[in-house]
């Protein structure tokens, strides 16, 4: 075979033959061998003979751990990937990704391989690696879950794919849009992604009502200008909110009239906005591209009128459009009055009604695309049982109600307690079955103050896999606590932990280094070269700190702590803010949620270990925490102390966030667990680990002070301020 001879020269040829023979002897079937034979020379030509030869070993590993079929698929795919990747290192990187999946979830290799090309085209190499890594971490040991992920069947997989692909859709643009709106209109909007489908097919227009602006998750047909379109859309809604008046009454208006009045109102608020901010016109006008002088259908006439009203250069040909423009211009001095829209709209609507122009309310979509569906302009019947005044309005309205409840963030808890609600958490919930069985990770002593003895191996600590929650957790956190996060970020930059050191013999410094000064003075007088380094200064201390954050997730943290929030929700946010702070500082952080159900089952959920970075998986684990069981503080403290005993850090802190005193189902004496926890704290301090407690709620604090001492215990009575205070407190104590 000449191709083979060209591809593998010299020693490579021998290696190739050896690899071939090995693959041949292993008996994975003729298909694998054929695939290798076909792929190897092409891969060798693209990225190099070493890579091509290594494919044999890859293939046999895949054949053993997964299936020979997957191995064949792999080999078939390799030339394509080699062609796409070009460089040997990048090809190796891609191979390593597949190997990683093979290692932790062999079954997922085949679905991944069959989507590899598409994934690579969409993501590129590095984001592809990130997407795969996240998938493996999200699924953990659960093969079903990882299979579903790599088959792109879970919403997480899709969502993360979109995120890593960096495609401009609503989630990727959301925060920018929010800022844009805030900058222009001085109000912070509540933006929501609309549900994927309304009753009339996909949601294609923005909609606002009450305080919420819902936007389609993507606009199709605007590739490349999505960002402009979304901006135009939020600017348009802002104009409504700024210049709009009270809601219009529907009265006896027909759908056609409703549409015309809405259109004029759109033009009215836009004109006013452009008077204030002339540049908005340049943002909006490019989207007025609809055909306007073709058939005189309502849709075309509307598009023409919309265009003519915003663009003075536009020369309307149709008499109806011209009439509309003239009336609008005649009213230009009174545009601040919303009644204008209604007045002109009624007249124009009547005119059009008499011309027998067809108007199909069901298929009508507002043009151009950046405008909203106008539902926010009208006073709509509150009672869904009331017969709909117009078909056109009822259908999207039903959709609005439905998506509103889906999207409301305050309903998070409800979603947890009602598993039948279909939502993004659904497929993930399957994991929770596995997280019901813990894995014993440690046996700990406990102190009995009655007997005055410590009982070894008295308490069993079981680790439970985190239940995965919301993939959008970090984004929502930013929404809720953006100000806090940025404030803390700044404080963090200046905080210091660690030990200061004196620097002797410096060229500059606060005070004279006496020894050096004397030496220099002697040198001067004896006419020798004096050393100018005569000052002393102090180093800024290096940061060296490790924190183990313990979150109490006992039953009582389900208590309400604010509108639609329970204590755990707030603990969760606080932990996330603290984690963000610490990862910026480069501090070591581990987060463990704990509860207990008797001494044989102290339940710990490792939300984040010291080794894992702070990432999507941390957010998923945090948002998946749910309240339950009791609080055995002593055991949790010992567990945390154990986890950090080997870490070499100047300061080690165990930070406990709890809402109550220790209690457990197998212990009726209230003092027993308090005394035990106190003992645990003392032992930790003797090992150089600080134990600090943040006690939540009004009644809390009493027993915590006994356990931790007054100085190491902070009581926060307004639970809702915890996220803010915890990070602040952290900065203060690490100073």
């Amino acid at each position: 075979m000449p191709a083979l001879r060209d591809a593998f020269k010299g020693p490579h040829r021998e290696n190739y033959l050896r690899a071939y023979a090995r693959l041949n002897g292993a008996g994975y079937g003729a298909a694998v061998l054929r695939a290798f034979e076909a792929s190897a020379p092409r891969v060798a030509g693209q990225v190099g003979p070493d890579q091509a030869i290594a494919l044999a070993a890859d293939a046999s590993r895949i054949a053993i751990k997964a299936t020979p079929r997957a191995a064949g698929k792999y080999l078939d795919l390799c030339p394509t990937m080699a062609l796409k990747l070009q460089k040997a290192e990048q090809f190796d990187e891609w191979r390593a990704m597949i190997a990683a999946v093979l290692k932790s979830s062999p079954k997922a290799v085949l679905p991944l391989l069959s989507r590899s090309e598409m994934l690579f085209d969409r993501l590129g190499l590095e984001p592809l690696g990130a997407w795969i890594q996240t998938g493996l971490r999200v699924a953990g040991q659960d093969t079903e879950q990882s299979l579903a992920y790599f088959q792109l069947e879970t919403p997480e997989a899709q969502r993360l794919l979109e995120r890593y692909a960096g495609e401009a859709n609503f989630p990727s643009l959301e925060s920018g849009l929010k800022s844009f709106y805030t900058a222009l209109w001085r109000r912070t909007p509540v933006l929501r992604e609309a549900g994927p489908n309304g009753p009339n097919g996909p949601v294609r227009r923005t909609s606002f009502s009450g305080g919420v602006i819902q936007m389609p998750s993507a606009y199709s047909g605007f590739r490349g200008t999505e960002k402009q379109l979304y901006r135009a859309a939020v600017a348009h809604v802002g104009a409504h909110k700024t210049y709009g008046g009270a809601l219009f009454q529907l009265g006896q208006l027909k759908p056609l009239q409703v549409a015309v009045v809405s259109l004029l109102e759109d033009a009215r608020v836009e004109t006013l906005a452009v008077r204030d901010m002339p540049g908005l016109e340049r943002l909006w006008r490019p989207f007025h591209t609809a055909r306007h002088d073709g058939l005189a259908t309502a849709q075309n006439l509307f598009a023409g009128l919309a265009w003519a009203l915003i663009d003075p250069d536009f020369q309307p040909t149709h008499g109806w459009v011209r009439k509309g423009v003239d009336m609008f211009h005649a009213a230009s001095g009174r545009l601040h009055d919303p009644a204008i829209s209604r007045q002109i709209g009624n007249i124009l609507g009547n005119d059009l009604g008499q011309t027998r122009v067809q108007f199909d309310a069901n298929s009508y979509v507002v043009q151009p695309a950046y405008r909203d569906d106008n539902l926010g302009l009208w006073e709509l019947p509150a009672d869904p049982d009331t017969p709909p005044p117009t078909e056109e309005l009822e259908a999207p309205l039903a959709d609005l109600r439905q998506t509103e409840t889906d999207e409301n963030p305050h309903d998070r808890k409800q979603e947890w307690s009602e598993p039948e609600t279909p939502d993004v958490l659904e497929p993930v919930r399957k994991v929770s079955a596995d997280s019901e069985t813990g894995r014993k990770v440690s046996s700990l002593p406990e102190y009995d103050y009655h007997a005055g003895i410590e009982r070894n191996d008295w308490v069993s600590v079981n680790a439970y896999e985190p239940v995965l929650g919301d993939a959008g957790f970090w984004g929502q956190l930013k929404d809720r606590h953006g100000a806090t996060l940025s404030r803390i970020q700044k404080a963090v930059a200046t905080s210091e932990t660690g030990k200061r050191r004196k620097l002797k013999q410096q060229l500059e410094g606060e005070t004279l280094d006496l020894d050096a000064a004397i030496d220099t003075a002697i040198a001067l007088r004896s006419n020798r070269q004096p050393d100018p380094n005569v000052y002393e200064s102090i180093t800024p201390p290096p940061r060296s700190i490790a924190v183990h954050l313990l979150l109490d997730i006992s039953r009582s943290t389900a208590d309400p702590a604010g509108p639609g929030l329970n204590i755990l929700d707030i603990e969760r946010d606080a932990a996330a803010i603290l984690a963000t702070t610490m990862s910026q500082l480069g501090d070591d952080l581990s987060i463990t949620a704990f509860s207990s159900s008797g001494r044989h089952d102290v339940r710990v959920i490792p939300v984040k270990t010291f080794e894992n970075p702070l990432d999507e998986a941390t957010g998923l684990a945090l948002s998946g925490l749910r309240p339950g069981f009791s609080t055995r503080i002593g055991a949790a403290l010992r567990y945390a102390a154990q986890s950090m005993s080997g870490r070499l850090r100047y300061r080690k802190i165990v930070l406990l966030v709890t809402d109550g005193e220790p209690s457990d189902i197998d212990m009726s004496d209230p003092d027993y667990l308090v005394e035990d926890a106190r003992r645990a704290v003392q032992q930790m301090r003797s090992q150089g680990i600080d134990a600090i407690c943040v006690a939540l709620g009004n009644d809390a604090g009493q027993r915590q002070t006994e356990i931790f001492g007054r100085k190491s215990c902070v009581q926060i009575s307004d639970v809702a301020t915890l996220p803010n205070k915890l990070s602040t407190f952290y900065l203060r104590m690490t100073r």
Partner: protein
């Protein structure tokens, strides 16, 4: 009375300008010390240096002002470490003295000595806040960005810009200030507007001037930059 004065307000709203103006009006020398976080007490009061004949004492800028009289202006005092700022305490009550601890000297303040500090509450964070004991020694003036009309006048006259362009710049600044605490730590300051205005009167188009003088300096976040650029675009 020579009461110590604290000027509060966001950066670039005219605090330093105000002090300079007052010094000129009162005909007094002005010693400005820009505080930074590595600043130690010695940087204020002075230190021993080593000379050919042994050690000698060198007065710091604060000591100089205390001895000779004049306005001493500590700019952005919160930037200095808290343990450093306590050295001004004895100067700010009825004692009006500056103890030079290392030298063993008690400097009595010149009758014309006056202390002014500036402080940007926006910077205020858990760590960088004035001690209560420092805060309470000062009378305070609140500064903020001027109202749009006056700000436009300032930009026009400082930058030699026409009134219409100055008003456009002021409007843009207003938009950015809407984002204060919501993505931006501070809005665009009057000082930045003057920079942009100067660029414009030198012939740079407004978009480029805003990009160069306002948007790029104020944030590193590419998304926020793009948002600000869009907001600028909407205003012009």
């Amino acid at each position: 009375m020579r009461l110590p004065v604290m000027l509060k307000g966001p950066t670039g709203c005219g605090k330093t300008r105000f002090v300079e103006h007052m010094a000129w009006k009162l005909g007094k020398p002005l010693i400005t010390i820009a505080c930074h976080e590595d600043m130690t007490a010695s940087d204020f009061v002075g230190r021993y240096l080593l000379g050919p004949e042994g050690t000698y004492w060198q007065d710091g800028p604060l000591t100089k002002a205390v001895r000779e009289g004049g306005i001493c202006y500590l700019d952005e005092i919160v930037e200095a470490r808290q343990d450093t700022t306590v050295i001004i305490h004895a100067l700010t009550d009825d004692r009006r003295i500056l103890p030079l601890e290392k030298k063993g000297e008690l400097v009595k303040a010149h009758p014309d000595f006056q202390l002014v500090i500036s402080y940007n509450p926006g910077y205020q964070s858990v760590l960088k806040d004035l001690k209560e004991s420092t805060k309470q020694r000062f009378c305070a003036l609140d500064f903020d960005y001027p109202i749009a009309r006056i700000e436009a006048d300032i930009v026009a006259s400082e930058a030699g810009l026409n009134q219409q362009d100055a008003e456009r710049l002021t409007k843009i600044a207003g938009k950015s200030r809407n984002l204060r605490g919501k993505g931006l730590d501070e809005g665009v300051s009057t000082r930045m507007l003057v920079h942009a205005g100067r660029l414009m009167s030198a012939g740079l188009p407004i978009t480029a001037a805003c990009q160069f003088a306002l948007i790029i300096p104020i944030t590193d976040d590419p998304e926020m930059r793009s948002t600000l650029a869009a907001a600028v675009d909407a205003c012009i």
